[in-house]
Symmetry: C2
Subunit: 474 residues, 2 copies
């Protein structure tokens, strides 16, 4: 039935590879085109988000395509944040009070390779590398690609095109630039850039610091983080303002200045990165932004998905997870309408519309939460009141595992509730707890059960106030 | 002192002309470059916002440059909205209960000519037409222009460049496209387009319908408006969805369909526009959007102003007024820092930063209000509860002229309060009155003074609720 539909997927990164694989499993004929060389043959992207945090929503997408178990072999569990104070003191702040809730460090190219390998096994899926999209014709629909080596142009036509070509999406640009189409778009950049560094492995692939955590050196306006790799190394990322700060990318221009900065802010790291200044000046400085747009689809012929539709800053560790969840949400709707596609009772336009209707608000929500979480990571994790809140939440989750879920847990470990629901409830809880601690309304003498009751009541008060204010929008 | 600073102003529309004139009055050397031909010699722009509504904030800018009195000769006062019901019944809904508060219809090219004439009188100001900006170099700074007739390229360097080149600003695009700069930008389009039509003058430049009003035919999802011109004609604008509606630009494709639509929705207008279908298919369909961006300035060398910085939809009649107010707000800051420019105690960067700090929130506020007002015009003006609200507000303003100002009045007639303050208070008042009417808490038996007290109290309750909710943002 649906086998005769030809689908063009532009971009074979994490989202595009999983999507193409899953669509092929549905029986469609897939052409998957990637502008870069085959990363299974060529090493790419030094200095750009080498590892990522995979959690429940991402695993849901992988499970759907039957690759969850294979992916699990690539994962390193991270059970909490290891906070490094300036003094060198460290403490572990668990992500949850429930033992089975943790995130996982995974190599981006490693996971991408796995997905490409699986995709390539499908007889109805063809992958083309080294071809960069230069034009999209939404009417046919078709897209034209330039071969990286020969410069030759090739046009592929299809029944529908999926744009999974990332934050700088060419498919999205083709919509932005077409004045007939009127794509709503917003691009908001952070005033911080990032730089990837590396803590090398110890002997025999040992780890130079605690393996099963996401390490954070929170310093208020700037921070360093580190995620473990399978080979014993850690990928380290420095987040720093571009300018207008004592230390910023604009003034860290000499090895001496970089050493001075690390000596002052991250002395314990200095010892772990032998060639710090060399990597610092070799690796590029990346920028981070949030992209929102709508509509995601054009007349049932083109659909944006993943970062192309909703790029976000990396601070909730949800970019990849949201993209994989996109595939799962889309799959649910596709499954519902698929039979109608050949009978003519449904159309790609209906499917795309339905998908956007369900998914857009959640993509917006995680985009917003990701920006908030930058403050949480770089500043709040180092603050006493925030640490008290986290301890209390962890205790709630530990003692009453079926009754309390922190914002982090709602967003990261609860695929059954949407990002937008998680945002609403999670923010209200945060407000409630911080307010109650600040006002001294959760004294040590109070039982944990009593504390939970008070937090719940106050959360409800806040949700009601917010609802009233939203109602007053006119 | 400041005479030796060379300033390049790109775009000689309403904002650019007034800005250039005012900067020349300060003694700077001005080069004002416009891509289109001199509109004093060539008629342009058929079918694109021929007339506009000028009100207090706009007059403030003109006053500053000494051209308010000259401009007043071009104005036709509009004291209220003349609402045309489907039945043909009309009624006037005043803009204010105070007699001296009204808006003014003015010809865009007429006002632009006046400003260009005044600008040209300045010996230190040079206007160049027919040169389209193709590139901006922010470092020098300089800009390169292509001559429309000869194709020749010319580069002008300056101490600072002002981008006043409108909603589709090339100066802004140069910032967007420079990946080094990271301009935050948002473009949101309406699902409605617009089409300009005309009610011709009657004999001897007479008016075919009431002269001193802004006419509205509110029909829920679509509407027609008309503004008077000095020659007896009215410029009429149809606002209509692009698609997915019984009547929309997508399906109004034949003269018969257009006639049918007007016959059904605007039968009284059909009699006033003899060549309706001809104009309909000759004039272009325009799109409307809101553009927000920041920062408006780049390193003290380039500053965006007017629509280039904050394009808005036309429904509050504040686009031009906001642009002229930009010039007035900028002027105040410039005056404060001007002497320091030559002594080196201040810099253009300080002035630009200060301007953006003061002005950005107000540009955002009027952009938002303008979108809201589309609903008010096309739907609310035809609703009973809204008409009751307007009558009550007019009575308040009439009886207690020093005590009550409606949102419309705050935005349009009160240049002493900012757009953002007007938005906050005005929205709260709207909520209060609509809620009170809905709940029957303003019965006929109550005195006007008592009603005002209740509205005030409820407004305060709403402002407090909003404040509480804003506080809960975390």
């Amino acid at each position: 039935m649906s086998k005769n539909h030809n689908i063009l997927v532009i971009g074979a990164g994490l989202c595009g590879s999983l999507l193409a694989l899953r669509l092929a499993q549905h029986g469609f004929n897939i052409t998957l085109v990637e502008k870069r060389p085959d990363l299974r043959k060529v090493t790419l992207d030094a200095g750009r988000s080498i590892n990522l945090a995979l959690s429940d929503r991402g695993l849901r997408g992988l499970r759907l395509a039957g690759v969850e178990e294979a992916a699990k072999e690539l994962l390193i569990p991270m059970t909490g944040r290891m906070i490094h104070e300036k003094s060198g003191k460290t403490f572990l702040s668990p992500y949850s009070g429930r033992d089975d809730e943790y995130i996982n460090s995974v190599s981006r190219p490693g996971l991408n390779k796995l997905l490409l390998n699986e995709a390539e096994k499908m007889p109805n899926l063809k992958i083309i590398f080294n071809q960069s999209c230069v034009e999209v014709d939404h009417e046919t629909p078709s897209a034209t690609f330039e071969d990286f080596e020969t410069g030759e142009l090739t046009t592929y036509t299809a029944d529908v095109i999926f744009g999974t070509d990332g934050a700088g999406s060419v498919v999205r640009s083709s919509m932005v630039n077409d004045k007939e189409f009127l794509l709503n778009i917003s691009q908001q950049w952070l005033g911080h850039g990032y730089k990837e560094l590396e803590i090398p492995a110890a002997e025999n692939n040992g780890y130079r610091t605690y393996k099963n955590a996401l390490h954070i050196w929170p310093r208020g306006e700037d921070m360093l983080i580190a995620l473990p790799n399978l080979d014993g190394s850690f990928t380290v990322t420095l987040f720093l303002p571009y300018k207008n700060s004592d230390y910023c990318f604009e003034n860290l221009t000499t090895p001496e200045k970089v050493e001075e900065y690390f000596q002052k802010e991250f002395p314990d790291v200095l010892a772990l990165i032998p060639n710090l200044t060399e990597i610092f000046f070799t690796n590029p400085t990346g920028s981070m932004g949030t992209v929102r747009c709508d509509p995601w689809q054009r007349e049932g012929k083109i659909l944006l998905m993943g970062d192309a539709a909703h790029a976000m800053v990396p601070f909730y560790g949800q970019g990849m997870n949201a993209s994989f969840e996109d595939v799962a949400v889309f799959d649910e709707i596709l499954t519902q309408y698929k039979d109608g596609l050949s009978s003519g009772e449904s159309s790609w336009e209906t499917i795309f519309n339905e998908y956007e209707k369900v998914r857009k608000k959640d993509a917006d929500a995680i985009g917003e939460l990701a920006v908030d979480n930058f403050d949480e990571m770089k500043a709040h994790t180092g603050m006493e009141i925030f640490q008290k809140k986290r301890k209390l939440e962890t205790a709630f989750e530990n003692e009453f595992p079926g009754e309390y879920y922190s914002k982090y847990s709602l967003v990261t470990f609860n695929e059954d509730i949407t990002y937008s629901e998680a945002k609403k409830l999670g923010r209200a809880q945060d407000n409630a707890i911080l307010g109650l601690i600040h006002e001294g309304k959760l004294p040590e003498t109070m039982s944990l059960k009593e504390k939970l009751e008070i937090v719940r009541k106050q959360t409800q008060v806040i949700l009601n106030t917010k609802e009233k204010a939203d109602y007053l929008k006119y």
